[in-house]
C-alpha cells in the first residue's frame, strides 16, 4: 500500500493534479505517525501507511488552499464526504487516496496489554492477526484485535466509500458493534444522578484547550459559540459547568456530522471520554432519522433536512 501511495502521490504532484499531498509520515513519538503535508516530491518518500495512522486528515482541506491529494481511512472518508455535503469542501478540489483499513492501534490499550511503558518498546511488527512487540531482551505477542480503538470494532465502512484511488483491496467490516458500544451501554446502565456525576467529574478535568474542537473535522463553524462574547454564551475560562455545556453543545453541533473518527477523545490531554458522547449521538441520529454520516455525498445533511414523518412522540 505504502509503495502504491508514494507512486500515486508523486504522479499527482508531478502532473500538477494537486498542489499538496496530505498524508501520514513517521512521527517523533514512539510509534505515532504525524500528518505529512507537502508540495515537494522529495518529501513523498516519507509517507507511511501502518497500523498507527490515527489522525483524521480531513480537517485540512477546509484550511489549506489549493488542490489536495488526501489520504483517508474509512472513517476519515466519511468526515470528508460530510464536509462535501455541507459545502465546506469541493469534491473537485481533492483527490482522495483511500486506505482500506483494518483498524488503528490505540497505544493506550497496547500499553495495558504489554504491561510495560511504550518507551521500552523497540519495535512493533504486524504479522497476520498479531502484533509482535519487541522490547529490550523480550518479545510479546498481542492480538491486533485487542489493541485497536473501540471505534474500529464497530466500523461498518473500513474501506472508504468515496475515493479516486484505492490503495489496496477492500477490507470487510468487523461486526463487533457490541464491543464498540460497550462503554456506552455500561454507562446507560447506571442511574441518572450517577451519570450526571460522572460527567461532572470528567469535565472538572477539562482545561479548555479546545483540542477536541480543533481536531474535529465536523467542528467547522467560522466562529465557535464559545468564542462569541456578545452575548457571551459560556465563560472563556473553565468551570465544570461551562466545560460540560460547551461539550454538550459541541456534541449537538457535530451530531449527524461525526464519523466516530475518535480524534476528539484521542487528543484530549486529560483523558475525558468524549467518544461516549459523540458515538452515542451517532446511534441516536441513526435510530431517529435513519441517517449515517458521510455515506452519500449527494444526500442533504441530516439537520438541514426533515421529513413530515419524523419522530415526535416526545412532543406533547
Amino acid at each position: 500500500m505504502e509503495n502504491k501511495l508514494k507512486e500515486e502521490a508523486r504522479k499527482l504532484l508531478k502532473e500538477g493534479k494537486v498542489d499538496y499531498i496530505v498524508g501520514y509520515g513517521k512521527g517523533t513519538v514512539k510509534f505515532r505517525t504525524s500528518p505529512l503535508i507537502t508540495n515537494k516530491e522529495e518529501d513523498i518518500e516519507g509517507l507511511v501507511i501502518n497500523p498507527f495512522i490515527a489522525n483524521n486528515l480531513s480537517r485540512y482541506p477546509a484550511e489549506i488552499k489549493g488542490k489536495l491529494g488526501i489520504v483517508v481511512k474509512g472513517c476519515d472518508s466519511r468526515s470528508l464526504v460530510s464536509l462535501i455535503q455541507d459545502n465546506k469542501v469541493k469534491r473537485d478540489d481533492i483527490v482522495i487516496l483511500g486506505v482500506p483499513c483494518e483498524g488503528v492501534v490505540d497505544i493506550k490499550k497496547l500499553v495495558e496489554q504489554i504491561g510495560a511503558d511504550i518507551d521500552q518498546v523497540k519495535e512493533i511488527d504486524k504479522e497476520g492477526d498479531n502484533l509482535i512487540v519487541k522490547m529490550d531482551g523480550s518479545k510479546k505477542t498481542v492480538l491486533f484485535g485487542d489493541v485497536i480503538f473501540d471505534k474500529c470494532f464497530g466500523c461498518e465502512y473500513p474501506t472508504p466509500l468515496e475515493y479516486d484511488i484505492l490503495l489496496g483491496s477492500e477490507v470487510s467490516p468487523r461486526v463487533e458493534l457490541e464491543k464498540s458500544l460497550k462503554k456506552i451501554k455500561e454507562f446507560e446502565d447506571i442511574n441518572a444522578p450517577e451519570r450526571w456525576r460522572y460527567w461532572k467529574e470528567q469535565f472538572s478535568k477539562c482545561i479548555r484547550c479546545y483540542a477536541c474542537r480543533n481536531v474535529c473535522p465536523a467542528c467547522f463553524c467560522e466562529r465557535c459559540f464559545v468564542d462569541v462574547n456578545i452575548p457571551q454564551w459560556i465563560t472563556t475560562y473553565g468551570s465544570w459547568q461551562d466545560n460540560l455545556v460547551f461539550q454538550l453543545i459541541r456534541t449537538l453541533h457535530v451530531a449527524g456530522r461525526c464519523s466516530d473518527c475518535g480524534e476528539c477523545e484521542r487528543s484530549c490531554p486529560v483523558g475525558i471520554t468524549l467518544r461516549s458522547l459523540q458515538r452515542k449521538m451517532v446511534e441516536e441520529v441513526k435510530g431517529l432519522f435513519n441517517y449515517e454520516t458521510g455515506v452519500d455525498k449527494d444526500a442533504p445533511p441530516v439537520f438541514t433536512h426533515y421529513e413530515a414523518t419524523d419522530p415526535e412522540e416526545f412532543i406533547k
Binding site: 513519538v29 500528518p35 505529512l36 480537517r59 518507551d119 481536531v215 475560562y237 484521542r266 490531554p269 483523558g271
Partner: protein, 337 residues
C-alpha cells in the same frame, strides 16, 4: 549535611511525618490521569510507575482558573472581597528536575516588576521535594537545556531512587532544616552515594533527544521573517492549546470579570498564544495567521525570554511533543532553523 536514606517501604512513615505540618501533594492516578494530588495517607506505589504528570506542576501555583477577588456594589461604592490563596504550607513531593527548573524560570516573570501575589504566596508556602529521573522518557531533552535528570539545584530536597532505598539530600537551607527535624532517616553509606552518582550519569546518557542551542538566538532573529519556514512548520498544527497548557513554563493568562446584577468576580485563567482570539479582548490579535502564532510560541521561549530574563523558557520536558495531537515537535522546529 550528607545523604540520608530511607527504605522505600518506609516512605509511608516519612510522608506521614511530613503531613503533620504540611499538605503533601504527590503524583497519583486519578481518573486515568497522573496528577499531583493531596496524598491519601497510604499509597506510595507511585515510585513504581510515576514518570511525570501531563498537567505540569505550574498548575499548583498558577492554576488554570483562579478567582482573584469578588466584588459587590453596595450603598457606598464597591466592596471588594479578597481571595488570596490560604497560607497553609505544602510539600510538592516527587517534582522532576525539569519541572523544578521550570518554576525557577517562571518565578522570574511572576516576581518581576509586578509581583504576582497569588503565585508568589503559593511559592513561598511550598517546599519542593524532587525525585530524580532514572528512566527518562523518550521525549525528554532536558540535557540540552543544562538540566540533569538526576540532579537539581532548584528543589529544597532531592530524592533518588536507589534500588530498595530512597536517598535523600538537602539542597536548600529550608530543605536542610526540615530534614534535620525528621526522624526515621538514617545516614546513607558511601556505597549508596556512589550508586546514586552512577544512576545520575546513566540517566543523563539515556537522553537521546537533543537540540542545538549554539548561536540559536542569532539564527532565530535572522529567520524571523522567513515566512516559508514558519508556514511549513505550522502547516499541520491544529491551533489548539495543548502545547501551551501542558508546558511547565508557558504562563500567559487572560483576565475576565464575571458579573451578574450587582456582584461579580474577577477571574484569571490560562490563555494560549495558539488561539486566534488571544489578546483579542484588550486590542486585537496581531497574529491572524497560524504560522505567526506558531512562530510566537517558539520565539517567546527561545528568543524573547532569554532577552528579558537571560534564560530559555523551555526545560526539555517533552510534554508538548508527547501531547500534541499531530506531533509537532519543538526539537524539529528549533533544529530546523
Amino acid at each position: 549535611m550528607g545523604y540520608k536514606k530511607i527504605k522505600k517501604d518506609q516512605l509511608n512513615t516519612f510522608l506521614s511525618e511530613l503531613s503533620k505540618d504540611y499538605t503533601v501533594v504527590l503524583p497519583s492516578r486519578s481518573g486515568g490521569q497522573v496528577v499531583f494530588a493531596p496524598w491519601d495517607g497510604k499509597n506510595t506505589d507511585f515510585l513504581d510507575w510515576y514518570k511525570n504528570t501531563i498537567i505540569p506542576p505550574k498548575a499548583l501555583f498558577f492554576p488554570p482558573v483562579e478567582e482573584m477577588f469578588r466584588f459587590r456594589k453596595g450603598e457606598e461604592g464597591y466592596e471588594i472581597e479578597e481571595l488570596m490563596p490560604d497560607k497553609r504550607q505544602q510539600i510538592i513531593f516527587g517534582i522532576r528536575p525539569c519541572d523544578a527548573r521550570a518554576l525557577k524560570i517562571i518565578d522570574m516573570l511572576f516576581a518581576d516588576t509586578y509581583k504576582d501575589p497569588y503565585y508568589l504566596r503559593r511559592r513561598e508556602n511550598s517546599l519542593l521535594v524532587g525525585l530524580s529521573c532514572n528512566e527518562p522518557c523518550d521525549t525528554c531533552f532536558c540535557a540540552s537545556l543544562d538540566i540533569s535528570p538526576g540532579q537539581s539545584e532548584d528543589v529544597d530536597i532531592l530524592c533518588t531512587d536507589v534500588s530498595d532505598n530512597l536517598l535523600i539530600e538537602a539542597i536548600s537551607e529550608k530543605g536542610s532544616n526540615l530534614l534535620s527535624e525528621m526522624s526515621g532517616l538514617s545516614d546513607a553509606g558511601s556505597e549508596e552515594e556512589s550508586k546514586a552518582k552512577e544512576m545520575r550519569k546513566s540517566a543523563k546518557e539515556k537522553i537521546a533527544r537533543q537540540i542545538n542551542l549554539s548561536g540559536l538566538q542569532e539564527k532565530m532573529r535572522s529567520n524571523f521573517e522567513n515566512r516559508e519556514y514558519w508556514e511549513k512548520a505550522s502547516k499541520k498544527c491544529m491551533a489548539c492549546g495543548i502545547c501551551t497548557y501542558v508546558c511547565p513554563t508557558c504562563h500567559c493568562f487572560d483576565i475576565n470579570d464575571e458579573n451578574r446584577k450587582k456582584e461579580g468576580k474577577r477571574v484569571r485563567s490560562w490563555d494560549s498564544c495558539k488561539f486566534p482570539l488571544f489578546t483579542r479582548m484588550p486590542m486585537e490579535n496581531p497574529r491572524h495567521e497560524k504560522w505567526r502564532r506558531m512562530r510566537q510560541r517558539y520565539h517567546h521561549k527561545f528568543e524573547y525570554y532569554p532577552m528579558n530574563f537571560g534564560t530559555i523558557a523551555c526545560t526539555g520536558c517533552g510534554r508538548c511533543i508527547r501531547e500534541c495531537p499531530v506531533n509537532v515537535d519543538v526539537t524539529e522546529i528549533i533544529g530546523g532553523i
